[in-house]
């Protein structure tokens, strides 16, 4: 037992060292861009996994929070000259508050109808930002003024700086997930995911737990939204509320291992690497190809490895550990 946790600490230390050193070794802009995408979608996946993975509330509407985070910080920056660092936190708060009415509506439904309701709320938000031009530039969107090197305004000249920012955000999300997983809330979430009625029957206040964790999930997703539009210097409703963000959030978690700490990260590494390889093989016209491959991977995982890649790794890990005492 002690040996196993020692191994885990060593592996974590190695992972931290490698991720910290990566931009020093890899300076190619294309490769760094892929790493940043991996970290960004890992962050979205980790945020989704809190609600979707542990409590099995299978949302396909997390783009709502991504978009709210992105729009809050951009409106604050462009209209009021407030730093996106502050805007990022404000966006998180806006998204967390928005999760209250959204959750109030959607949690009335269970299973597939919860999923449909989350799609509808995210799409409705996108329509609102498309229709009401006075609110935020309508369908045209806006470019974010490029100030060159302005770390206080979340703008950098090197991709490596963006890499460290999103790495920090991901670390925060993982830390929060780890703490929740280890606490009584984590056990309650899993109980709700297994059987909500049974959980309530033994005294779990399911509506309250779901509400609180949904807020945390929304907050973390919004941080990713702010980071993303700052990184690409552009915002419009189709980018910020893109349905593909909702899809990818769920997809990386399911492929990697639903309801596990590292599942979304592993899933994102696999999916984003595949997508980058496809892009370099086939050129720019890969929209259909990329999602076709994603869909096939998702189907394969559901049919043959429902516990995801993490389940696969855990099986091997356990078999390895079980054999060890027999030899000693």
């Amino acid at each position: 037992m002690a040996r196993s946790s020692l191994w885990k600490i060593a592996a974590l230390a190695l992972l931290v060292a490698v991720t910290m050193a990566l931009p020093l070794v890899v300076t190619n802009a294309f490769a760094l861009d892929i790493f940043i995408r991996i970290l960004l979608f890992s962050l979205v996946g980790v945020a989704w996994n809190l609600m979707g993975g542990y409590a099995k509330q299978l949302s396909l509407g997390h783009a709502a929070f991504f978009g709210l985070g992105a729009y809050t910080s951009t409106i604050m920056q462009v209209d009021f000259d407030i730093s996106p660092w502050i805007g990022m936190v404000a966006g998180g708060v806006v998204a967390a508050l928005a999760s209250l009415p959204i959750g109030w509506l959607c949690f009335r439904l269970r299973g597939p109808y919860f999923t449909i309701a989350t799609i509808a709320t995210a799409q409705a938000l996108m329509l609102i930002f498309l229709k009401f031009r006075d609110l935020a530039w309508g369908a045209e969107g806006t470019t974010i003024p490029n100030l060159g090197s302005a770390p206080l305004m979340l703008q950098f000249e090197t991709k490596a700086s963006y890499y460290y920012v999103v790495l920090g955000l991901l670390a925060l999300a993982l830390l929060i997930t780890w703490r929740i997983e280890r606490s009584w809330i984590g056990y309650y979430l899993v109980a709700i995911g297994e059987d909500e009625d049974a959980a309530e029957a033994v005294g779990v206040n399911a509506p309250r737990i779901k509400r609180d964790v949904y807020m945390i999930s929304a907050f973390l997703t919004a941080l990713a939204g702010t980071f993303y539009v700052q990184y690409i210097y552009f915002i419009d409703p189709a980018t910020a509320f893109n349905f593909n963000i909702s899809i990818e959030a769920a997809l990386v978690s399911i492929v990697g291992g639903i309801g596990t700490l590292w599942g979304p990260v592993i899933g994102t590494v696999l999916l984003e690497t595949t997508s980058a390889l496809l892009q370099s093989w086939l050129g720019s016209s890969t929209g259909g190809v990329q999602l076709t491959v994603y869909a096939l991977m998702l189907m394969a995982i559901i049919l043959w490895r429902p516990a995801g890649l993490m389940g696969f790794v855990n099986d091997i890990w356990r078999r390895h550990l079980r054999r060890r005492p027999a030899r000693a």
Partner: protein, 289 residues
């Protein structure tokens, strides 16, 4: 004013017939197999492309291609149920939701690769024809689509209520375990339900082709309508889905008439969110799950 309202109601009812074919498919699968088919809209899309290619390659009228699209999609439904859906049936929601969702994603993006994002239309002799009476305007293609859609819905209702297989399907919908004890083979019933639902989607595709464009994302419009209609109507209830679909068509049409051309979707979402807020179990009551 009264004429404008009447015209909007007629337009809404006519398109509502198509919505009904899609919704009845969704509600049939939900009622019998107990899963939500997120890919239902993509089968409308496939029906449209089938009709389009039969019309452009073989000169087959889109309405006659109904006799090809319906059996073809029925067969596809039986195969999908047998090889995919059957493997994920059980108490766990996650694989069911994401299997049909992955299927939707797959078919949509395959269509994007094969057919490109271009809009495809078929022009028939009756595409522009219309009946006029009492100052109202009724396009012939839409009227035919509505009549055939209602006839198919009626045929399904008769099938469910008079034939042994139909009664077995209703029995399996009410209580799967007891139905199995009574000697009903659930796999066969599920396969027929899935096939019938997809055949209806295929029919919707063929009926749409004379007056609607085919493109890879076309199914999304119809499936969203269907989900709302199925929440609004009683889940698993064919009549409920039919009535709710016609209501949705009229509401959308009135929204377009009086709020603005691009407000159709907003009306749909508003209706869905209102339903969730006021009557989350749908107009027919009952629990979702």
């Amino acid at each position: 004013m009264l004429e404008t309202v009447a015209q909007a109601v007629i337009n809404g009812l006519l398109i509502g017939g198509i919505y009904a074919l899609v919704s009845i498919g969704v509600t049939l699968i939900f009622g019998v197999v107990k899963i939500v088919n997120f890919a239902q809209g993509e089968f409308v899309m496939i029906g449209m492309y089938l009709s389009f290619y039969l019309a452009t390659q073989f000169g087959l009228d889109p309405l006659l291609s109904l006799f090809v699209t319906m059996p073809a999609l029925f067969a596809a439904g039986v195969l999908i149920q047998h090889f995919l859906i059957r493997r994920v049936l059980g108490p766990n929601d996650m694989p069911q939701i994401f299997l049909t969702f992955a299927l939707s994603l797959l078919l949509l993006n395959l269509a994007l690769m094969l057919f490109t994002a271009n809009y495809r239309t078929v022009h028939t002799s009756y595409s522009d024809a219309a009946l006029h009476f009492a100052g109202l305007y009724v396009p012939v293609a839409k009227l035919i689509a509505f009549v055939v859609a209602m006839a198919l819905s009626g045929a399904l209702w008769v099938f469910l209520h008079t034939t042994d297989l139909g009664k077995a399907m209703r029995a399996a919908a009410q209580n799967r375990d007891v139905a199995t004890l009574m000697g009903i083979n659930p796999n066969r019933v599920f396969a027929v339900a899935f096939g019938a639902a997809l055949a209806l989607a295929g029919a919707a595709g063929s009926l749409l082709m004379p007056f609607y464009s085919a493109y890879p994302f076309v199914g999304q419009v119809f499936v969203l309508m269907a989900f709302v209609a199925v929440v609004l109507g009683t889940l698993g209830n064919v009549i409920g889905a039919l009535v709710a679909s016609l209501m949705m068509g009229v509401a959308e049409s009135l929204g377009i008439q009086f709020v603005g051309a691009d407000s159709g979707l907003i009306v749909v979402f508003a209706m869905l969110l209102l339903t969730l807020a006021l009557k989350p179990t749908g107009l027919g009551g009952g629990r979702v799950r």
